[in-house]
Symmetry: C2
Subunit: 338 residues, 2 copies
DNA sequence: TTGTAGGCGTTATCAG
DNA sequence: CTGATAACGCCTACAA
């Protein structure tokens, strides 16, 4: 059977109340009694029942996060984020409650279970949508959360990376390397960062007087496979692009496969660039030029901000926009010789 | 405020009991009443308080897992395992409670919090130690768990990969490719799989009449960095090995770095092989020869078994030993020409 | 078919 | 300094 306060109380010959207070470290317990109680508690391996404690105190010391339940593969973006969030949560004395759900209704009901079910003190929301129902929900019930990503609605707490700027830099970089036909493999429109990143792409083209061509912009769904399909279409065009930017690294890696498969060489015949800088970007062949989002570190900052919000501390800035860092590797080719 | 059964009861003009039964789908509630109650519950967005429910029912529908809290980097082995476990847990209607802790005392107390604190119905134990205090604890309190890895004690439920066989195959493979000086970068002795894998290495050497040399066996700690250090030592020997096997992929990748740094070429001048087949093994340059542990799939199976144990169903086999699969890639060189 | 009452283990209030 | 007592929200005999 489980050791409860009652067990200890009986063993020590005092009331449950006294045991509770002794263990909680209240000052109004006789030093003798306290020591005896603590000794017994340790001997019996007492462990407070957290469900009971939560029921009373409304604090769970748990952070919730819902990640997409994909068919078979683990998404490195989310895994890095989970690692960063988990590490920092633990640093603050919090555990992490993870639920893998299909996007859509299921996901939202997982939010409800966690939040309204009182299982977590706060939520981390990743991969924000344009009109994000999860954020709408959390705002409606006034539950603490921080999002990785912003939307138009200016009021919610977020940390984000300036995708427009990142994309602009990517275009500038490719132009500098001599490219004029730069294609884009786009992320799904419903994602908040899509408009941001695509905007940066367009502004990049304009800034260098390059035309925006409909046929150079293809829709992907963030998976490696969709990147490959998109690149195949691009390469089959009458006038194929000489450079391909993908809205995330996974699609960029898929695009590299398509280039290979056509017997062309990445970085020489076709330049490829991505966005995120997942670990594999470094080790891919050739290594991938990309825009770095320090995902692991962002996980830390998300938790730091969330912890303050949960504890109702002052947070000076709840809208953090990080400047991206262009990471040039071999997949975008070699510098122009002049 | 939170919507409780009481809120609904008042709204519907019935007792809490009736609401509870109506929502739980009991048969003994008037159809009229039930419909009215359900309608109100939905309108008010009722969500059962899970702490209260757990307190009563002792079921949490949560699986616990403690992962090492390393300084800065995410360990791909654990991340893959988390992905597999999380996915399958969700498939069975369970959430995953993650706690990142330093190994040792902290880790054990996280187990206690989860288990004795009643937060989880079962635990997944990864990276089993020789005399594993976590397993000792779980057995002592009769709490359901499944381990990824076995120990001498035959009675606990586990899924494992036959490391001895894997290592043997690795040695055989390298011998076939013409190597006679095969070194080993060993994992920490306290890990259960170390004896297993090292045993396979020794038996491999014996089988091919190769001497076991003390100086060819170096201790690592599973990190990339330790693999690099170990390989540097090996390569600085008067008679350096021509092939290096590491007990995990991360150390093997570190060893590759050391080879590079010395101006040698992996797969040509020195053969390298690892164990695990983490995603990066495929994309590394050159790709890494290794022994495949299907970590993601093992995560699935761990959960499947655990779910049956938690629900006290019959499990025909609670000790599963999987046969490993040798994955030959470029890091071990090219086949001997004859 | 519905309601009353008790308890899960904890913490907080209020007397003694 | 200590102990009753109530309450958190839910479930379930048992009674009506």
């Amino acid at each position: 059977m489980h050791v409860t306060l009652k067990t200890i109380a009986e063993e020590a010959g005092v009331s449950i109340t006294t045991v509770s207070r002794a263990l909680a470290g209240y000052g109004d317990v006789n030093e003798q009694t306290r020591r005896r109680i603590i000794e017994i508690a340790e001997r019996l391996g007492y462990q407070p029942n957290l469900a009971a404690r939560h029921l009373r105190s409304k604090r769970t010391y748990t952070i919730g996060m819902v990640i997409p339940r994909t068919a078979h593969y683990s998404d490195p973006f989310f895994m890095e984020l989970v690692a960063g969030v988990g590490k920092q949560a633990s640093e603050h004395g919090y555990d992490l409650l993870l639920s893998a759900q299909m996007q859509g209704e299921e996901e939202l009901s997982a939010y409800r279970r966690m939040v309204a079910g009182g299982r977590v003190d706060g939520m981390i929301v990743a991969r924000v949508l344009w009109q994000d129902p999860r954020i709408a929900y959390l705002r409606q019930v006034y539950h603490p959360f921080v999002a990785f990503g912003r939307t138009e609605d200016p009021a919610h707490p977020y940390i984000d990376v300036d995708g427009a700027e990142g994309m602009y830099q990517l275009v500038a970089h490719l132009v500098e390397y001599g490219h004029e036909r730069i294609a884009l493999i786009q992320s799904p429109r419903e994602l908040a960062f899509t408009a941001d990143r695509c905007g940066g792409y367009r502004r990049g083209l304009e800034a260098f007087d390059l035309p925006y061509r409909e046929e150079y912009v293809i829709q992907g769904n963030l998976t490696r496979h969709s990147g490959r399909l998109a690149a195949e279409k691009l390469l089959a065009l009458p006038t194929p692009p000489s450079a391909i930017i993908a809205c995330n690294d996974l699609m960029a890696l898929g695009a590299s496969e398509a280039v290979h498969a056509r017997g062309l060489r990445v970085g020489r015949d076709v330049a490829i660039a991505g966005f995120d800088d997942i670990p594999e970007a470094t080790t891919a062949t050739p290594p991938l030029t990309t825009v770095r989002q320090p995902i692991y570190g962002i996980g830390h900052r998300l938790v730091d901000m969330l912890v303050r919000l949960m504890q109702h501390e002052e947070v000076d800035n709840t809208q953090v926009l990080l400047q991206p860092e262009l990471v040039i590797r071999a997949s975008s080719g070699t510098p122009p010789t002049r």
